[in-house]
Symmetry: C2
Subunit: 158 residues, 2 copies
């Protein structure tokens, strides 16, 4: 299996759109995105990830802590909408910039051939916050996470 | 002491600006805004208010639960910036619309005559969320809270 890069674009001055196709059916991708033990295997790009909270329902909170070579990084937010197996809307913030909150709308599209497209649109309060995220090295981290997700899905498909 | 109404305006399509003058020096107003036992006396407009969390520092969380005649309402957020006695930037969301997050920038201006002006600018992700807040009955609730704050300040001034 070759690992493809995510397609990243900026549909408006406060948004980032990320698109990536995965070689697994939608129910399987949903499982990898929502079971805490599986999330821990890919979200942190191979680094140790502690899923402190993952209350996957409207109003529930989530908090993940990544233990990487450059230190410990906490991320958290709250679920706005959860519609299995096709849609999650949640907020996202990094402890390093507390109170800077993006809204992430993630859609899982069943491509009908055993593959699934994930599209995530993140909306920021300001263009500056959006640009800060773009320049944070997110693209490299994202592709590492998605490559780890490919590996989780390959194991689930066996 | 007469109770004045807050001045509410919309400086941009995603913002609400609230301005109100209080008959107390800035240090006293800061105290009433930041000591949990005092916040509990005015924030809930006279309803019982439980201050579950109030970690008043950058990155800290807050969560207040109001017990009113129409039920129990939780509110929460995170502090982005805390600069005594003049400025707090924090996020705000209501449990009833989880994941809909406004950023509130509150400034305390010392008017030099024993009075203090509080200006709060709230920035929403979308115009629709801003309008939802405007039409939620916020103005009445706000004026009730600020009238309760007037009473707290009058007691502190004694």
């Amino acid at each position: 299996m070759t690992t493809s890069k995510a397609n990243i674009s900026t549909p408006s001055e406060r948004e980032i759109r990320i698109e990536r196709i995965f070689n697994a059916p939608r129910e399987r991708v949903w499982q990898a995105l929502t079971e805490p033990a599986l999330v821990a295997q890919w979200w942190g790009r191979g680094n140790k990830l502690v899923v402190e909270r993952m209350e996957l329902e409207r109003g529930g909170h989530w908090r993940f802590v990544e233990h990487g070579p450059d230190g410990v990084h906490g991320f958290e937010g709250r679920y706005r909408e959860v519609k299995p197996p096709e849609r999650v809307v949640q907020t996202f913030e990094w402890d390093g910039m507390p109170g800077h909150v993006a809204v992430e709308t993630m859609t899982l599209e069943d491509l009908g051939d055993g593959r699934t497209r994930i599209v995530t649109v993140s909306l920021f309060h300001t263009r500056e916050e959006r640009d800060g995220m773009l320049h944070s090295g997110m693209e490299g981290g994202l592709n590492e996470s998605y490559a780890a997700l490919d590996r989780v899905l390959a194991r689930l498909n066996q």
